[in-house]
Structure formats: structure tokens, C-alpha cells
């Protein structure tokens, strides 16, 4: 990467952050990940005092909350991108001397990185499950991939912010769905494996093969991202 490319990335990121921080409707959601972290750190141990059975689900609780935290950056960025779609700013990007798809790839990296930071912080500071640093890094990457996936889904399929909010709610509710597979004993629950978050929960199952599940998760999320990326590029970014 040469200095010119670096300069473009810095300018773009700086302005993306400006767009996020200057939007008053994002101020409250920006505090939510911190609230969730505090809840994990101090709330869950308190709860475990009264309901000791909570302890066996710590991994799943942490997984679910990390996913929720991963999706906040997706919320901010997908709203910025819905506006870009609405105002035809993608057309402006397309008449700039940037290599094809450079901008979309930048954006996906930006969201992933931001989300990675949120998840890393959550996993590191929650104090719930003892994980080695390599595992925290791998999990942070896996969970962070939820952000570009969510963003691409919303920006590709939502026509406006109202639809975007609805989709976001749907996705957030869908996050908890695969938990059924870990709470109910039935071979049918294996079908939930088609929902990408399933693999995140699977990776938190300490009795299972961590690296295998994490790798499958990253590959599966990566594939879904690639599929929607194609559609976004052909239908929206034009």
C-alpha cells in the first residue's frame, strides 16, 4: 500500500467517523455497547449468585452479547450507506479515479475493523469466559464479520431508513434463534446451522473443537458476504 492509498483511506475514515459522530440519532446507540459490557462484567456475576445455573450458559451469553455489539457499527454505517444510495453518492464515487470496487472494499474493511474493536473489547473485558489471546483475536474476527454481512444486507435490500430499521430488528432477533440448538436436545436443531450465528455459538462451546468451528464460521460468513457483495455491486453500486 503506497502513501497515496493510505492518504485516501485516512481521509475517508475520518469523514465516515464525522458522519457517524455528527448524527445525533447515533449518540444513544453509541453508549449501548458500553452498557452491555458493564452488564456482562457486573450484572452476570450478580445474577449467578441467585441463579447458579447461569454459570453454565456464560459462553452463550457472552456470544450473544458480542454479536449484538458487533452489529452496532453495522447500524451506523448502513444508515450512512442508505443515505449514499438515496443521494446517488455511489455515482459520484464511480466517477472518481479509484480502482473498481475500491470504495466498497474500503467500506467493508472499515466496518469490519470497527466491529472487531467493539467485539475485542467485549471479549477482553467481560471477565466471563477465560480465553487465550489467539482465541480472542480469532473470535473477534469471526464475530466482527457479522457487521459487513448485516450492512450489505440492509444496504442492498432496504429501500429507506424505515425498512433498514425493520431489517436490523429482524436480524437482532434472529441472533438469539440458534441458541435453541444449545438448549433443546433434538437432532433437528442441527438445521439451525444455516444461520451464520450458529457457528459463533458453536465456537463458544468449550467441549467442541474451537479452531474447526471458528474456521467453518469464518468461511461461511465470508461466503455469504461474497454473495451479497456481488448483488450489492451489480444492483446498488452503479
Amino acid at each position: 500500500m503506497n502513501t497515496i492509498t493510505l492518504k485516501k483511506i485516512v481521509t475517508l475514515s475520518k469523514n465516515d467517523l464525522r458522519s457517524i459522530f455528527r448524527d445525533k440519532s447515533f449518540w444513544a446507540p453509541m453508549l449501548a455497547p458500553i452498557a452491555i459490557l458493564l452488564l456482562l462484567r457486573f450484572g452476570v456475576p450478580q445474577l449467578a449468585i441467585y441463579y447458579p445455573e447461569v454459570n453454565q450458559y456464560q459462553g452463550l451469553i457472552l456470544a450473544l452479547m458480542s454479536c449484538i455489539n458487533a452489529i452496532f457499527p453495522a447500524f451506523f454505517v448502513s444508515f450512512i450507506m442508505l443515505e449514499e444510495k438515496d443521494l446517488q453518492l455511489f455515482s459520484v464515487m464511480r466517477v472518481m479515479p479509484l480502482a473498481p470496487h475500491w470504495f466498497i472494499i474500503y467500506r467493508i474493511s472499515f466496518i469490519t475493523l470497527m466491529s472487531f474493536g467493539f467485539v475485542f473489547g467485549t471479549l477482553l473485558l467481560s471477565g466471563l469466559v477465560a480465553l487465550s489471546l489467539p482465541k480472542i483475536l480469532a473470535l473477534s474476527f469471526l464475530i466482527a464479520l457479522m457487521a459487513p454481512l448485516t450492512t450489505l444486507i440492509i444496504v442492498t435490500f432496504a429501500k429507506n431508513k424505515i425498512e433498514g430499521i425493520t431489517m436490523l430488528k429482524g436480524i437482532n432477533m434472529g441472533l438469539a434463534l440458534p441458541l435453541v440448538a444449545f438448549l433443546v436436545m433434538s437432532p433437528w436443531t442441527k438445521l439451525l446451522a444455516i444461520i451464520p450465528v450458529y457457528w459463533i455459538y458453536q465456537a463458544f462451546d468449550m467441549s467442541a473443537n474451537f479452531w474447526l468451528n471458528t474456521t467453518i464460521g469464518i468461511a461461511y460468513l465470508g461466503l455469504l458476504i461474497a454473495v451479497i457483495f456481488r448483488r450489492f455491486k451489480n444492483k446498488v453500486f452503479r
Binding site: N15, L87, Q88
Partner: protein, 287 residues
């Protein structure tokens, strides 16, 4: 500079072509105008030429090179003015320009100078969400030329602007032409086309019906008449008009007598406007 041969463009979901077999040539250093009513295919043509719409039929050559073989470097050479304002609303005017300026290989011209020229320097630090439509359009305008491109495309550059600002923008366009830039303009404003363009193409329903210099068009269709309005003293000072052929006007005794004896209120030559010519050629109105 730009050569278009038998261009046909059909939008993906449409059965019929929107741009139907148009050919034209834009010489270097000239302003070429597309004049036509709403829906004629002006913006569509501009989008093909600026690489936003692909899968067209026919040939487009820019600077001696097929449009299809240009890569993203093309955008260092051209500037694109969009029909509708498109900026980041949460960023200020200056931040918006600086963002796009960072994408070019060379440094852009002074943004302060440009903002100042279009009367936006005092609002440079204001977020674009607080801009009026006209202010946003002026910002669009700067973005199209701040990187000093050889070829500039403007899609209705003066639409939605007050006369003072429209004047400023038109002066800049003419100045860019004198700097040797090749300029493509779409408009449905015949005055703009008349004033700015070296050549205008009349476009209706995706087809060009004629290409010529505005003066030629007006001269060919001019009626060469003078219309005189006067108050008739005999008829209770009611308003009357008479028309005289321009030819031999100085010796036209009837005309001269009218001037000497009546209370003249106005005298106009009946030149054809570009719109008259447009209607005569295409059978369609401009608006």
C-alpha cells in the same frame, strides 16, 4: 475530443432503447450542448459518456481511445457535474470537496478560490444539510472542475439557480472554454444553449434531429421583420401594431411616416429564438 458513433442505450428493465442511434463529434475547446425536453435522453447520454452506464451499443471514442478501454484514470481527465445535488449532508462544504479532492492523482486547484467564486466561501464550514438546493448545485459545479479536467460534463448546470448565480456559473463555463477545455452541457433552457454553446444538438425521444451552431439556426429561420407598436391618435389612443420587412426599411415611406406621426411605444425585430427553431425542426416544445 469525443466521437460518438451510432450510440444506442437501453436500460436493463426496458424494452425500448432510450438513446437511439445518435452520432456526433465534440471538437477540442468547444462547448457542445444537448438541448431537448424532459425525458429526451440527455442525462442518459451523459451517463454513457461518463462511464456510469455500460453495455451500450455503438462506439464512443474519448481522446482517441475507446471509452471501453479507458480504466479509472479516465476520471483524472474528465469532470462530472450531476443533475441533482449529491453530497455528504453531515460534512461541511469544504470537507465534502476535500474528501473528493483526495481521490485525484494531482492536487486540485485552490478550493478556497473556487468556493469564493461561486459565493460559498462564507459557508465553507457549514454542513451541507443546511444548504439550499442552489447552494448544493454550486458545490456540485465546483466538484466537476476543481481537478482541472480537460473535458467537463454538466447536466443542467444552471437549473434551480437564481439569475445572479446562473450568470456566475455561465461565466465560469465560458472561461473554462477559453482555457481550452472541452465541455458537454445538457439543458432545456434555450437561452443557455444559445449563449454558451458552439454547437447544439436537438434531442427528442433519444434521437438527434439536427446539430448546428446556434447563430446559424437562428439566422436560417429568422423572419426578418420589424414589429412596431404605437398609440393611434385617431382611435382614442388605442394600441396598434404593424410589421415591416427588415429589407429596405430605411426607404420604407410607410414605416418612416409612422415613426414621424405616431406615438411609438415599442419596436422589435422578429428574430427566431432557438425555441422557435426547435419547434419547427422537431415538432416538440422544450418544456
Amino acid at each position: 475530443m469525443i466521437l460518438v458513433k451510432k450510440l444506442v442505450y437501453t436500460y436493463p428493465q426496458r424494452k425500448e432503447a432510450t438513446v437511439r442511434d445518435i452520432s456526433f463529434e465534440m471538437p477540442k475547446g468547444e462547448i457542445f450542448g444537448f438541448l431537448g425536453p424532459s425525458g429526451a435522453g440527455k442525462s442518459t447520454t451523459q451517463k454513457v459518456l461518463t462511464g456510469l452506464l455500460r453495455n451500450y451499443e455503438g462506439q464512443v471514442m474519448v481522446k482517441g481511445k475507446d471509452l471501453k478501454s479507458w480504466n479509472s484514470d479516465y476520471y483524472n481527465h474528465i469532470g462530472v457535474g450531476f443533475e441533482l445535488p449529491n453530497h455528504y449532508l453531515k460534512l461541511t462544504a469544504l470537507e465534502n470537496l476535500q474528501l473528493f479532492a483526495s481521490f485525484y492523482d494531482k492536487p486540485t486547484q485552490s478550493l478556497q478560490t473556487w468556493l469564493d467564486r461561486v459565493g460559498l466561501w462564507k459557508d465553507a464550514q457549514v454542513r451541507v444539510e443546511n444548504f439550499s438546493k442552489g447552494m448544493k448545485m454550486r458545490l456540485n459545479f465546483i466538484r466537476a472542475l476543481m481537478h482541472d479536467p480537460d473535458i467537463i460534463f454538466f447536466d443542467e448546470p444552471t437549473s434551480g439557480l437564481d439569475p445572479v448565480n446562473a450568470r456566475i456559473l455561465k461565466d465560469i463555463i465560458l472561461e473554462q472554454k477559453h482555457l481550452g477545455k472541452t465541455i458537454f452541457i445538457t439543458t432545456h433552457n434555450m437561452h443557455d444553449a444559445d449563449e454558451l454553446c458552439d454547437q447544439v444538438a436537438f434531442i427528442v425521444d433519444g434521437k438527434i434531429s439536427l446539430i448546428d451552431a446556434p447563430q446559424n439556426l437562428r439566422l436560417q429561420s429568422g423572419k426578418k421583420l420589424v414589429k412596431v407598436t404605437y398609440r393611434d391618435a385617431q382611435l382614442n389612443a388605442s394600441l396598434n401594431t404593424r410589421e415591416y420587412a427588415m429589407e429596405g426599411l430605411g426607404n420604407n415611406s410607410d414605416f418612416l411616416e409612422l415613426l414621424q406621426t405616431q406615438d411609438i411605444t415599442s419596436i422589435h425585430s422578429e428574430e427566431a429564438t432557438l425555441e422557435d427553431v426547435f419547434i419547427k425542426t422537431t415538432g416538440k416544445k422544450l418544456t
